[in-house]
């Protein structure tokens, strides 16, 4: 049944540090690589070498520019994948029961052999976390690398989602957000971790750590060069023209 569990024993999820992410897209590539070769239907590309390529991705990095009231604009790289919401609207709309939230760890998954590819769950998701694979006709989404995190054939250090393992900057963290003492929960508490679109009431498990406030006013390296004092004829002209 696509009823949501009343509560889940764990709330496995990601914490993404927007202060650290450099926007290298390594998580996008490693996610696509792992999830194409492992669990479920491969993440297909359409017209991959043609004029209009597009493909299925479970994780995408957007880049935003934020303009504060004073001071220069900031560029913020913004990786986005399934947030494994506690009140996941994508689960309850599913007519076949293919979409479900696991009671044991809170991971939202798609049973691909039951998915009819109606696309309604992708409509219900505010975050664009679900993409209908155009080759397989089934809905694809982040599994939190379910085939890595419990995989005892892998060394322990690799039992985290591929995106977390790959991130060269250390901007991605994986853990149980239902346990207040876990490292990820501590991080969220310390840094004021936030929900995306809280007004829609989805209660996302994944949290985003906001960029830290700038601790100094930005340097103005061009100022000394720009402030050229004219001398000679140009200086005379400069002084003369200012009189008008």
């Amino acid at each position: 049944m696509t009823e949501l569990p009343v509560s889940t024993k764990k709330k496995l999820g990601l914490v993404i540090d927007l202060d650290i992410c450099v926007g290298c897209h390594a998580c996008v590539t490693s996610c696509k690589g792992w999830n194409t070769e492992n669990y479920g239907a491969p993440l297909s590309d359409m017209d991959a070498y043609g004029a209009d390529p597009s493909g299925t991705f479970l994780n995408r990095v957007h880049s935003f520019e934020v303009q504060p009231e004073t001071g220069p604009a900031q560029t913020i790289h913004f990786p986005k994948s399934c947030l494994h919401c506690e009140d996941a609207p994508c689960v309850t709309v599913c007519p076949t029961g293919a979409s479900y939230k696991r009671e044991e760890d809170g991971i939202v998954l798609v049973n691909e052999s039951a998915c009819i590819g109606c696309g309604l769950c992708a409509w219900a998701c505010p975050y664009g976390a679900r993409e209908l694979d155009q080759a397989a006709g089934v809905m694809k989404k982040c599994t939190l690398c379910i085939d890595r995190i419990y995989n005892e054939n892998l060394p322990e250090v690799d039992r985290v989602p591929a995106c977390v393992r790959t991130c060269p900057a250390g901007a991605r963290h994986f853990g149980d957000l239902g346990d207040p003492d876990s490292a990820v929960s501590q991080l969220v508490a310390d840094r004021g971790g936030m929900d995306l679109m809280p007004e829609l009431g989805t209660k996302p498990v994944n949290k985003y750590l906001p960029p830290r406030p700038k601790d100094r006013t930005p340097a103005k390296p061009l100022d000394p060069i720009a402030d050229v004092q004219a001398t000679g004829l140009a200086g005379w002209l400069d002084r003369l023209l200012e009189k008008f």
Partner: protein, 291 residues
């Protein structure tokens, strides 16, 4: 939202067929014999044809039977159940009318109720989505139901009911257009809430995640329809509501009048349903700096 032709054809035609079945179930018209065969054929043709069209946009239609399992949470699953039960329940009504000329209210009355319930389930598939504020409102089920009732009244040749329902439909269309325009803003989702970066300042998209397009953008960010929004709104109100009401009020009721009124109504219904999708904005567009 992407106005997929299969979904537009499905919702308009199945709504019309189920609306017609409502009047047949209620016994507003009680055809007999060959006449009944043709009339129930038309009603079933629209309803079943529309429901068949709904499977064309599925990625894996061979598993469509699984859609009957999740009736406890899913409006799509409820729609599947109600449509099948309606069509089964109305079958004896049609058979009795064709072979005995008798109208059976025992099956007809519940059949009429279930036909409307099916239309309601269809509308709730859209109205339940908080992610599409324009749809997430009582006007969505109201529009779907009145479209079904007005279309059914035209097909039944119930002229005075059809005139009234067409005019109600026109008012509802105006209400849905006008109130729908401000609903996205009223919901409060912005690029600032979508990214959580509003605490720093004003957010704009600096660079999208990829240079090409993707499933999400094709499915949920549709800009073409909004260019012709004003004209299409006038067309849908004129054709779905005013012109058929005028035709039915002025011309004597008969097959040519019904065909003319229905043709006009369907042109308006298709325009309105196309707009219903094309105008609707999904919050995911905020991540792409577009709606």
């Amino acid at each position: 939202m992407h106005p997929a032709p299969s979904v537009i054809v499905f919702t308009v035609l199945s709504g019309l067929g189920l609306g017609f079945l409502t009047y047949l179930g209620l016994g507003v018209i009680q055809p007999e014999g060959l006449n009944a065969f043709l009339i129930y054929g038309i009603a079933y043709g629209f309803a079943v044809g529309g429901l068949m069209a709904s499977t064309f946009h599925l990625g894996n239609p061979q598993r469509a039977l699984k859609a009957f399992t999740q009736w406890r949470t899913s409006w799509l699953s409820r729609e599947a159940w109600f449509s099948v039960v309606t069509l089964l329940l109305m079958a004896p009504v049609a058979l009795f009318a064709i072979f005995t000329g008798f109208h059976t209210a025992t099956f007809g009355l519940p059949g009429a109720g279930l036909a409307l319930a099916t239309v309601f389930c269809t509308s709730m598939i859209y109205a339940q989505l908080k992610t599409v504020p324009r749809w997430n409102h009582w006007t969505t089920p109201a529009l779907f139901l009145v479209f079904a009732l007005a279309g059914g009244a035209i097909l039944s040749g119930a002229a005075s009911a059809a005139v009234v329902l067409c005019l109600v439909l026109g008012v509802l269309l105006v209400v849905s257009f006008v109130t729908g325009d401000g609903r996205f803003a009223a919901r409060g989702s912005t690029m600032e809430t979508a990214t959580g970066l509003g605490r720093i300042g004003k957010v704009r998209l600096f660079e999208p995640p990829h240079t090409g397009t993707n499933y999400l953008m094709r499915e949920m960010i549709h800009l073409v329809g909004r260019k012709h929004r004003a004209r299409l709104r006038v067309i849908s109100i004129l054709f779905a509501s005013l012109l058929p009401a005028l035709v039915l009020a002025v011309l004597p009721v008969g097959v040519p009048t019904i065909v003319l009124a229905l043709t006009l109504h369907l042109i308006g219904a298709f325009a309105a349903r196309w707009l219903f999708f094309a105008e609707a904005e999904h919050v995911v567009g905020l991540y792409y700096g577009a709606r």
